[in-house]
Structures are given as C-alpha cells and as structure tokens.
C-alpha cells in the first residue's frame, strides 16, 4: 500500500500547523506555502503523523491518500 500526503494549496491558509508540528514531513516551500518532504510514507510513525497533520490542519487542506 502506498501512502502519500497531498496539500490543496488553494485551500491552504498558511497556518503552519503542519510545518511546526511535523517538521519531518513538511517544510515551507515557495510562496509561503508548505510542501511535503517525503513522497511516499512507509513507516507507521510517519503515517500516524500524517494523519495527525490532516486532523489539525485548520483549512482542511491536507489529505492522506492510502
């Protein structure tokens, strides 16, 4: 099973929750928008963190695709 994170940059409000809470998975990218640092998530810990990031994203811009 491939697990990936997708950020909807139209919905993103640049709150930074993902970058601050999960720096291993997210970083600031261009135009003050976050970007995903790991293309495919294999470790359980990463998958858990990705789901946590989706949960706290204030604009609902993060989706974890499994």
């Amino acid at each position: 099973m491939i697990v990936r994170i997708v950020i909807d940059t139209e919905r993103c409000v640049m709150a930074g929750e993902c970058v601050y809470n999960h720096p291993r998975l997210f970083a600031w990218g261009e135009s003050d928008l976050p970007r995903v640092r790991i293309a495919e998530l294999h470790a359980d810990a990463d998958r858990l963190e990705a789901r946590q990031a989706a949960e706290v994203c204030p604009s609902g811009a993060i989706t974890v695709i499994e």
């Binding site: 409000v13 929750e17 949960e55």
Partner: protein, 425 residues
C-alpha cells in the same frame, strides 16, 4: 535633566500603575528602547511587532526553556503543575506531547464537542437565574471553561464542582504567590490523590475521552509517566480554563465599558462577537508576555543579546505598535488593519493583514486557539441572548487588572456586575 525623560527605571515594571495600565510604558519601550536591557530583573524586553514576531518565529535562537550546555533542558522545579509540556522547549518530545492532544481542540473533534459546550453554557445561564443582576466572573466565566475541559478529559460530571474549586485555588496560586501558592499546592495535591484511582481505571479500561488518549499515547514504545500525565492534566485545566475564563470577562468588559457604543451593533448582529474576540486579543489580551532564552548570540535592532539571556517578548506591547496598527489605543470592532478571522500559528494571512499576537505564534502558539474562540463566542452569544438588555450595574469600573503582567500574570476584571431585565418565565 533633558534627555532622561524617556529613560526607564526597571522598577516601573513592578509598580501597581504598570499592572493597571501598562500601555504608556509599552509605548516608551517601543519608541525609545525597542531592545531594553532590564538589569534589575536580569532580562531583555522586545516590544515592537516586527521584533516580537521575528523572535517567536526563530526557534534556532529563541527557546522556550533554558537548555544545558551539555544537552537536555533545565526544568523549573518550583512549578505548581510539576513537569509539563511547556518546559520541553523546542524538543521532539514537546512536539510529540502536543500532537497527542492537539487534534482534540480543532476541526472535526472540536465540532463534535460543540453540543457539550452548549449544554454547559445553558446550565450555567440557568443558574444565573432571574434576579436581574449577575456577577459575571464568579457566577459564569470562572465556571464555564473549566467545566468544558473537565468534560473533555472525561472526568466525572458529578465531581465537576470539586474541580472548579481546585482549579480556582490552583490559578490563584499561580498568580499571587504567598499563602495563595500554598493553597494552590494543597489543592493540586488533593486533586492528584483524587486522580490516582481514576487514572488506574482509565488505564485498564480506556474510554472515548481525552484522558484515555493521553494515557495511551506512546513515543518510541514509551508512555507518559504518571507525573507527566498529572502535570498535563493540571496544565490543561489551567491553560484551557483560566485563559478562556478571563477572555470572556474581558470581552464583556469592553462591550460594557470600553465601547458601549459598539455593543448595540453586537446585540443586533451576534456574529460580531467574533470581532470582539479578535480585537480584545489585540487590544488587551489575557496574556501579555512570553519568556524565551537565547541559545546563541543574536542581533536585534543592531544590539547584541548574549547567549542564554532571558528575553521577555511583550506581545501586549507589540499588539499596540503604531508601526502596524493605526490608532492602536482605540478598541474598534471594524479595524481594517487587523486580520479578523481565525488565528494562525504562522501569523501570516492570505488577506495580507497583520494578526494579533494574543496566542503567541510559532513553535509555542496556543494549542487551544480554535477552541478558545469557539467557547468564548458561543458563551457570549448565548449570554447576550438570555440576559434582557444587559448593562453595567456600576457606572464606573476599576478596569482590567493583573498580577505581574510581564511574568505571565493573566489580565482580567476582578468583578463584572451586570444588570439585566429578567425576561425568561
């Protein structure tokens, strides 16, 4: 002597005048001493919006806790709460502890909790009764958020009154020291003894509540120690209770006394309570200062702060920075230069406007930002609708006060008497 008028005597920070009205001194700091070396309290103070936001955003140089040169953090041991999440600085452990609970306070989890918030508001409004007057602080704001958070934790509702009592003793201990501190510690110990069997029970039989979630969370196969769990609970009771408690009191204070003229608008359009919340968080937030420690030499406004220096980030001063906000000393629900919507950890907004710093920003941005707003706005809307024609009982008020603002004292009115027409059956 000419030229000395703008000098600041650090003892001014301990004066009753400053605790009552810190804003004139904040302005002197911003205008004349944007990087103030306070030798008396052995710290530095930053007060301009630009510098405070830069420091909040710079984890590399500004840490929440004092690190030891050889590695781990030096924990403050005198804390009423015992060890807790706030003191883990910029570490992975801090992030992990926060992520265990952060999801509870935003998005779907928060929405799912709104009915419980509504129930508790309705119960308290019922208690306020029909006498035609209410002392809002003791009868409502002191009671409300603490009941919400204990409900969220999954503490037995039958024991809620006891929690309110412990909570009040705890926060008095935080704010005033002395005999209050002794009472606060006694209340904490009593609460912890009460919690012991409850923690055991939830460990054995997890329920669908925050307490069980905290108990079950693991990092690298390790769970939180019992001391850590208790510290976490005490922190949530205070951070999730006290701040929102005082935010609601401040919102009403501003509507009754600071801008009674704008209150009529809010009564006509209750959605404006969101703006009351936002502008209150800028104008005179519950928390005025945050402490950081430099991890290396750092230059601010051309001055060098040494390594391991204590730095007060005066967000109360930054929020009044005339370099960012027009006419900053006026409370205005329709500010065009303030981001009025929900706050961000990054303090950057798509509308390009500046945000208030009442929740801090960056690594230690308030975890409960969404819940605080939600609770405060619902509480104010329901109260305003239930109390007929609410108005101040007294024509004048001593104003918003706080013990030791710049060492974390929370600002709020001591009492707030409201008179109203008893309209309900």
């Amino acid at each position: 002597m000419p030229g000395l008028a703008n000098e600041i005597d650090p003892r001014e920070f301990d004066s009753p005048e400053f605790q009552r009205n810190p804003f004139p001194l904040y302005k002197r700091l911003r205008d004349h001493h944007p990087v103030f070396r306070d030798r008396f309290h052995n710290r530095w103070i930053l007060s301009r919006y630009e510098d405070v936001t830069a420091a909040f955003g710079d984890n590399e140089h500004f840490d929440r806790a004092l690190y030891k040169p050889d590695g781990p953090y030096e924990f403050g041991s005198s804390h009423v709460f015992g060890p807790n999440i706030l003191e883990y600085g910029n570490s992975d452990r801090h992030r992990w502890l926060r992520n265990v609970v952060a999801g509870q306070f935003v998005g779907q989890s928060l929405n799912a909790f709104v009915p419980a918030i509504e129930t508790i508001v309705a119960e308290l409004i019922d208690r306020v009764g029909r006498s035609g007057r209410v002392e809002l602080v003791s009868e409502f704001t002191n009671q409300f958020p603490i009941r919400v958070i204990s409900n969220m934790l999954g503490l037995p509702r039958a024991d809620e009154d006891r929690f309110v009592g412990w909570y009040q003793a705890l926060i008095a201990g935080l704010g005033f020291g002395g005999e209050h501190l002794a009472r606060g510690i006694a209340a904490r110990n009593e609460m912890w003894r009460y919690l012991d069997p409850l923690l055991e029970e939830r460990r054995a039989r997890p329920a669908d509540d925050l307490l069980s979630k905290i108990l079950q969370a693991e990092l690298d196969g390790q769970r939180m120690s019992t001391e850590e769990v208790k510290g976490f609970i005490a922190l949530l009771l205070a951070a999730g209770g006290d701040t929102t408690d005082k935010a609601i009191a401040n919102m009403w204070f501003h509507m009754l006394y600071t801008r009674a003229d704008q209150f009529a608008e809010v009564q006509a359009d209750p959605a404006l309570w969101d703006n009351v919340f936002t502008e209150m968080m800028r104008f005179d937030p519950v928390v005025h200062a945050q402490t950081r420690f430099t991890t290396a030499e750092v230059v601010v406004q051309g001055r060098v702060l040494p390594e391991r220096a204590m730095v007060t980030l005066s967000l109360g001063a930054a929020n009044r920075d005339e370099r960012v906000f027009d006419d900053p000393d006026t409370f205005d629900l329709h500010r065009s230069d303030l981001h009025m919507g929900r706050e961000n950890r990054s303090a950057r907004y798509r509308d390009g406007l500046a945000g208030h710093l009442g929740f801090g920003m960056g690594q230690h941005f308030c975890m409960g930002y969404a819940m605080a707003r939600q609770e405060a706005v619902i509480a104010c809307q329901r109260l305003a609708a239930a109390l007929g024609n609410p108005r101040p009982l007294h024509p004048t008020h001593e104003g918003i006060v706080a013990p030791s603002i710049d060492s974390g004292g929370f600002r709020a009115p001591r009492e707030l008497w409201i008179e109203f027409d008893p309209v309900r059956g």
